[in-house]
């Protein structure tokens, strides 16, 4: 006997049709028919009366259906998963990143994970924080890396912190400063993504104290656009240091005191996940606890 035979039997019983059961199970109708035949032979009874237009359970079939339904209730899906769990050589994983999410820890993790599990296909999608949270809730993605840790529907694993720095063009008046305080930004034009509400919120308290208030301009979506606009002298921006310090067109200046923004890997609190998602979560936990060298 195989678990799938019972799964097919339950589906055919519920839908009263081999064809519809096959459609629902995404397999061919002969596969369902053969599996049920095999089960009937092993049991030595006829489970379905096929003489009618619509198939019906025989009286013994009804008893068997109730028994199997009781036995499989609440465990069938997980037992099937266990049965299919041969190894992790396969599967797919979709990871969401925010515009600023693909930083150090996040990219290191993805790189190392792909090295260890080359057969798991990893797809990255980039969206703003709100969309990623929506996707996580709807289980369109397996995990996401972003800066927020407030949503109780998710488990958050702290990956690390990124320093936020001011960046300006090479001939900006701030260019020679080693550090800068928020008050110095009074009246400046700040280029910041419209989608990074959380990011803006994170530094809001510091910005609110600036007098006169800086002006937020353009609101581009992509980091590259922000950097290009800054490089052209259109304004200044506040970005994770790692995103702009290697850009020779830009000058990166730390705030005084320095500010850091934590990044998290988040996944939805659900009881069952794909093997690939389970593997990724365990990998990240181990990565965070032990570091890449120990993996």
């Amino acid at each position: 006997m195989e678990l799938r035979q019972l799964e097919y039997f339950l589906m055919v019983s519920k839908l009263k049709s081999f064809t519809r059961a096959a459609e629902r199970l995404y397999i061919s109708q002969p596969a369902v028919t053969n599996a049920i035949h095999g089960l009937e032979e092993e049991l030595g009874i006829q489970l379905f009366d096929r003489s009618q237009k619509q198939i019906v359970l025989t009286s013994e079939g009804k008893v068997f259906y109730r028994h199997v339904d009781n036995v499989m209730k609440g465990v069938s899906k997980t037992l099937l998963e266990i049965n299919n769990l041969k190894n992790l050589n396969g599967g797919s994983l979709t990871i969401g990143l925010t515009n600023f999410g693909g930083l150090e820890a996040g990219t290191d993790i993805l790189h190392q994970f792909s090295k260890i599990y080359p057969s798991i296909a990893v797809t990255i999608i980039e969206k703003n924080l709100f969309s990623l949270q929506q996707d996580l809730l709807e289980e369109k993605i397996d995990a996401a890396i972003f800066f927020d840790s407030a949503n109780p529907a998710f488990t958050h694993i702290l990956l690390g912190s990124s320093e936020l720095a001011l960046c300006c063009c090479c001939d900006h008046k701030f260019r020679h400063k080693n550090s800068i305080d928020w008050q110095s930004l009074g009246g400046e034009k700040i280029i910041m993504s419209k989608n990074s509400n959380f990011f803006r919120q994170y530094i809001k308290e510091s910005i609110d104290k600036i007098n006169p208030q800086p002006e937020f301009i353009f609101g581009p979506t992509h980091v590259q656009t922000i950097k290009s606009l800054v490089a052209s002298g259109a304004g200044i921006s506040v970005l994770p240091r790692k995103l702009c310090e290697t850009d020779t067109r830009l000058v990166t200046i730390s705030f005084s005191p320095q500010i850091y923004m934590p990044s998290y890997m988040a996944y939805k609190n659900v009881k069952t996940k794909s093997h690939a998602a389970e593997a990724f979560i365990m990998f990240v936990k181990k990565f965070v606890a032990e570091g890449v060298d120990l993996l």
């Binding site: 006997m1 013994e60 465990v75 037992l79 093997h275």
Partner: protein, 293 residues
Amino acid sequence: MMPAIAAVGSNQLIANEICLLTENMLNSKVPVSCFRTDEIKTSPLLDFYICAPTQYEKLCHTISPKNLFIFELIPTSTFFLKIARIPAESTVYVFNNLLPYTQTLIAYCHSLGITGLHFEAIAYESMEESEISFHLKKAEYIIGVDRFVGSEALLSPHYRQYLRDDVRIIAAKRTASVRSSCVFLHALAVFYYTQAEHKYNQLLQSASLTEASALAMKELAFKTDNAINMIRTASVQIIANQIDLSAKESTAEMPDYAAHSIAEEDIPYFARIVNDLLLTFAILNKKLEYISK
């Protein structure tokens, strides 16, 4: 990595029943010893003890609850299918030593939609002999747990004399419920996982780049692979047992690393395989933990 497992029963019959169930679940890959409850105090300490619910109270004073597991015993599908074939309106006698389990069996039948029969209980340890013989003489259909309707009780000379020639006896082969089986299986999986992880860390720490270390790592990969395969097959067998069928054993394909030659520089290669298997095992444990709750 082999765990020591004991099946415990109030008498040898029950101990044997639990022993067979456990061996069957584990596809006879792990030996199981049998003990009566009164023998446990003097027996050596083992990793797992499995008993029926009635023995738990007595045993939990001697055995740590983390080593003690219950198998809730329930009849298989075949038993109910045979009862379903009895003509409607017939009177069916439920034969057992005590009354409560007869009620349990009747309730199981009703819950499965077997409602067209009249059930009468015969609890031979709590009824007068005259009442028992009165019922048995009339009985055309008798159902009950196999050890009570077999040669030890119903078919013993004592009761056999009362039975009709055309009596039809339906014996229930019992099996452990899915939930109680999963609790044990999860603990067993954790046992194997912990052993494998411990050995893995030991081998990594020894860090001697010798052929023997590479061989030890390869052997650990094999053992871990086998343990995973056994637990996976057992998880299907748990369901198959309910239906009185055999689970098809998971085909243990020869892993790629089996053909890999042993050389000292291969330690990282085998270590990576063990690491991968441990992760698979950890996921398997998590899934078992979920269904055993």
